[in-house]
């Protein structure tokens, strides 16, 4: 790393609770979200969505719609024949379905009209002939039904992806165990439910340049998708991500409505807006995959793991989305909390006729974390160990490489466990509270950005451009997208710290593919670490130029020049100096216009095997949570009174914003643990059970629990000023901590989220009848798993590469 300059010593900005740079705009209604854009002559678009879950499209007749008063244009799938998708390996979507629909809500036509009402009415007179196909509604059905195939690609039948990896000799590991335990668990799907419904505005101007404003977390990938599907040169397309009214991963895919509205703008030559209804947002989905999981772990008497075998089956819904990555993620991060010397992972994702699943906060990792942490709780009980102590005894060492070749940096989980154990008075409560009251613990880890970009290349994942002008103005430009997490502010704080100016003096321009260098987007908790490092580099380069010019002016040695309080001065004689604006004038006089760039590329991963692309990260954050619950044995109702959570943030860039992310993560984890579910009606028609905010249960103020937060600061050398992520990680320990607390309260294992009252009650009744005190599935569907890719672990002398297939076959 070359960017340690300015990262040592006392900080003026970093670690301080400054307001966000856009805080006043957000509190006064001035922030312009996508639907707040109104342009002259703007048309309004609506999508006609499929009312059937799986069918061939035999014919579409739009002639009546075209004659409907107010309608200006109607397009169908044939107008946008090129497929797209977020991952290069899953280019399986069309903006408007061409010959087949795959779920209720799949769009088949788009109308642009003078107003929204006219567009709505015109949808009713579009005639579509569907020829129904057998529907596939669940993981079990998908595995049992090879035909019809929802897609003509994948790993056979309706299996989208099958993965099998083995790190080290797990059979040997299980042979060395004193105890082997197996568990089956299920994590229901849930959706992001951002308060802002997706919206986009497109304008194709007279110079044949297209601009799309959209509520997207990933303008760069939308830019790519538009370039591919519209047949326009990338240089003729500009994507501007408007501030997102909540994302949580739900605005990370390029969407059909974005492409359709862009096409309608090209067809009509007028601006066109589309705003989805709340019901449509449920159809966009890309939310948490429902995952069936089986985990088998061998342990020594002290809880040391000798081997682990994890299986996951993901219900992917109708399209690929991020699903291949999601599948790998359900098996990747089991190894970064507790030492797992030998590890086997088998995973698969199926297609079903439901809205597509994708990345939701924690992307593919809350499900296995729930399974793993509930499983660890049961192991601790079988061994007669305190679950908090058992976990702490076997932590992955800091600065080590795991069996699956993830390079762990700073590792503050031990401190996190200590904080929540002390804060919650764990030792006085665990297995000691009255029946109906319980306490549970769980831990977790999350990535700070993915080591590899979605499109593999050697270019940076984040770029920052800095422009200093002779009035002392500083403009920072970056492709990153503020989805409420405060990424615009992070850029300003970091640049201000390095240049010794006030963050509110800085103009931040982000998420505009015409004006800003590429940043891949707001996903995988990558933004603070990656844009932060890029911003440091750009700011240090600018500072170097200013330093040279100021040192000449002051006649002081270069190493004496410091920047603080909007001044540049000689540290040995601080009264001698110039204002920041004068420093810029001196530098501009000497070097010409002052502009610098910075970029960030993650370090290379030590894993070289097929499948090693998912899991590596520049750094891992850690969290520990204790939940205290009250369970009513008469009704099965679970009330979570309080959650103590400690998060290893590395270094807070702004602690107030970190606190907000921790609390928001706890909230979302609590909702998933207790009530949120993306559920469907009917086995054959697969209608979404409740596409409304009233019926899709989420926590109001009355259900939200008290949260006691501890920030553990263990700076990571790869983070900007040592910072790690916080947007996603703290969600992960919450559902298992609650499940473990429910067991402590009433002695019943609920091996499934959400932990609904009827499940708790079923478990309590089963136990009262002398049966197992448990609610959950007993087994995974039986499938033939592929021969695993075998990778010797670092401890076995492995070099990160898989064994040749010949050797694998030889073994079998």
């Amino acid at each position: 790393m070359t960017n340690n300059f300015g990262q040592n010593g006392p900080k003026k900005i970093i670690g301080k609770p400054f307001r966000k740079v856009d805080a006043r705009a957000k509190c006064t209604g001035q922030t312009k979200f996508a639907d707040d854009i109104f342009l002259p002559r703007m048309l309004f678009a609506k999508l006609l969505r499929s009312p059937v879950p799986h069918a061939l499209i035999k014919h579409i007749d739009t002639s009546k719609a075209l004659k409907h008063p107010g309608v200006v244009a109607v397009i169908t799938g044939n107008d946008l024949p090129i497929p797209y998708g977020i991952l290069p390996v899953s280019q399986d979507e069309h903006a408007l379905c061409i010959d087949k629909v795959r779920f209720i809500g799949d769009p088949v036509a788009a109308v642009a009209a003078l107003d929204e009402d006219a567009a709505f009415q015109a949808l009713d007179v579009i005639e579509v002939d569907y020829e129904p196909l057998e529907t596939i509604a669940s993981i079990e059905e998908a595995l049992a039904t090879d035909e019809p195939r929802i897609h003509e690609y994948g790993d056979g039948g309706n299996v989208h992806k099958r993965v099998s990896l083995e790190f080290g000799d797990t059979e040997q590991g299980f042979a060395e165990a004193d105890l082997i335990r197996e568990d089956v668990l299920f994590y229901e799907g849930s959706t992001h439910l951002p308060m802002e419904q997706h919206a986009a505005v497109a304008h194709f101007d007279a110079d044949e340049k297209l601009t799309l404003w959209s509520a997207t977390q990933t303008p760069h990938y939308v830019h790519r998708a538009l370039t591919k599907t519209l047949g326009l040169a990338a240089s003729h397309i500009r994507v501007i991500a408007t501030p997102n009214g909540g994302g949580f991963g739900g605005k990370s895919d390029p969407f059909n409505h974005e492409i359709a509205v862009a096409k309608l703008a090209m067809v009509t030559g007028r601006p066109v807006k589309i705003t989805l209804t709340r019901e449509e947002v449920f159809y966009c989905h890309r939310g948490r995959h429902p995952v069936l999981m089986w985990v088998k772990t061998g342990v020594k008497r002290d809880g040391a793991i000798t081997a682990m075998h994890f299986r996951s089956m993901l219900d992917g819904g109708a399209y690929g989305s991020y699903g291949v990555a999601s599948t790998f993620y359900t098996g990747a991060l089991q190894t970064v909390t507790y030492n797992v010397p030998r590890y086997k992972f088998e995973g698969l994702r199926v297609f079903t006729n439901k809205p597509p699943c994708g990345p939701k906060r924690g992307h593919g990792t809350p499900q296995p974390r729930f399974a793993l942490e509930a499983h660890m709780d049961k192991i601790a009980e079988e061994l007669g160990l305190d679950p908090a102590e058992m976990r702490k005894r076997h932590l992955v060492p800091a600065y080590s490489v795991t069996a699956n070749y993830l390079r762990v940096g700073s590792m503050g989980l031990g401190k996190c466990i200590d904080k929540v154990v002390q804060g919650s008075e764990w030792k006085n409560k665990f297995r000691k509270l009255a029946y109906g009251r319980g306490i549970g613990i769980a831990c977790s880890s999350y990535i700070c950005g993915a080591g590899l970009p979605i499109y593999w290349n050697n270019m940076p994942q984040s770029g920052v451009q800095l422009r200093l002008d002779r009035q002392g103005g500083v403009c920072v430009q970056c492709g990153s997208t503020d989805i409420g997490q405060g990424s615009d502010s992070i850029l300003a704080y970091i640049v201000a710290e390095v240049l010794g100016i006030d963050p509110f003096d800085i103009r931040v321009v982000t998420a505009d593919t015409d004006l800003t260098p590429v940043d891949l987007g707001s996903y995988s908790s990558r933004v603070t670490l990656m844009t932060g490092n890029a911003a440091i580099q750009a700011a240090e380069r600018a500072r170097e130029m200013l330093t040279i010019a100021v040192s000449e002016k002051l006649g002081a040695p270069i190493e004496n020049i410091a920047f603080a309080d909007r001044r540049a001065f000689d540290v040995e004689n601080p009264d001698v100096g110039v204002t920041f604006a004068e420093a810029v004038v001196l530098a501009e006089s000497k070097f010409g216009t002052i502009g610098t760039v910075g970029s960030y590329t993650p370090p290379r991963s030590p894993g070289k095997y097929k499948g090693s692309g998912v899991g590596p990260s520049p750094a891992y954050s850690y969290s520990a949570a204790v939940a205290e619950v009250e369970v009513d044995p008469e009704t099965g109702m679970v009330v979570v009174d309080r959650i103590w959570i400690a998060h290893d943030i590395g270094q807070s860039i702004n602690p107030a914003l970190v606190m907000g992310q921790v609390e928001g993560s706890v909230y979302m984890g609590l909702g998933e643990a207790l009530m949120e579910e993306m559920a469907y009606r009917g086995k054959r028609n697969v209608v979404h059970k409740f596409p409304s905010m009233l019926e899709y249960k989420s926590l109001t103020t009355l259900e939200m629990c008290d949260v006691k937060t501890y920030l553990v600061e263990d700076p990571d050398p790869n983070g900007p000023f040592g910072a790690k992520e916080v947007g996603q990680g703290p969600l992960l320990p919450v559902p298992p901590a609650i499940a473990n607390a429910v067991y402590d309260a009433v002695g019943v294992r609920i091996d499934e989220v959400p932990i609904m009252p009827e499940k708790v009650l079923a478990g309590i009744r089963s136990k009262a009848q002398g049966k197992e005190g448990r609610f959950g599935l007993r087994a995974l569907p039986v499938v033939a798993w592929p021969v695993p890719i075998r990778v010797p672990t670092p401890a076995e002398g492995g070099d990160g590469k898989e064994l040749p297939r010949v050797a694998v076959h030889g073994r079998d």
Partner: protein
């Protein structure tokens, strides 16, 4: 095309000023505010009365503008988020929401701010439970509500004339 104009005209007091607006009579207050008056600070989350995002004050009371007809606003006093700050001076709630990060994405914030404003006018010293009760009709997906409670409590104290700063625990966590 019909012979007579399709739009209706009403007069109201909007953010303390006399206003007149013409709109299609079936429109909701939400639509009239955003589309006919250009006041896009009022947001929508469901347009079905489920989320509280579109809350505005009518005659001093919080109402869901997605469920109110524009025509019903004749002669009434409507306050939107645009009217919460006066002459560039933020309302104490706006200040504390900004200070504590109670507005993350900011989309639900106008509804929360106006609901909280009305609550503090009725009850200057609310308990945490009373704040939860008053805000129970507004959904937020970002904050877990905690920074919102803390911002309301801080603003309430300041509006009572107390000189208080945010609690260390709410900004830095527990030691």
């Amino acid at each position: 095309m019909p012979n007579k104009p399709e739009k209706s005209i009403i007069r109201l007091t909007l953010n303390g000023e006399a206003a007149e607006v013409a709109f299609a009579p079936h429109k909701t207050l939400l639509e009239v505010l955003r589309e006919d008056l250009g006041l896009t600070g009022t947001k929508h989350g469901c347009e079905l009365g489920e989320c509280g995002t579109c809350t505005v004050l009518v005659d001093g009371r919080p109402i869901l503008s997605c469920l109110a007809l524009g025509l019903d606003m004749e002669g009434r006093e409507v306050v939107t988020i645009e009217g919460m700050a006066a002459n560039g001076i933020l309302h104490p709630l706006q200040e504390t929401f900004a200070d504590l990060g109670a507005a993350q994405c900011g989309y639900c914030s106008p509804g929360f701010l106006l609901t909280a404003k009305e609550m503090l006018e009725k009850n200057p010293s609310p308990t945490r439970e009373e704040i939860k009760e008053a805000l129970a009709g507004n959904l937020c997906r970002c904050t877990g509500y905690i920074k919102i409670y803390e911002a309301v409590e801080l603003a309430a104290a300041r509006m009572r004339g107390e000189e208080v700063e945010p609690a260390t625990e709410s900004i830095y966590g527990l030691a």
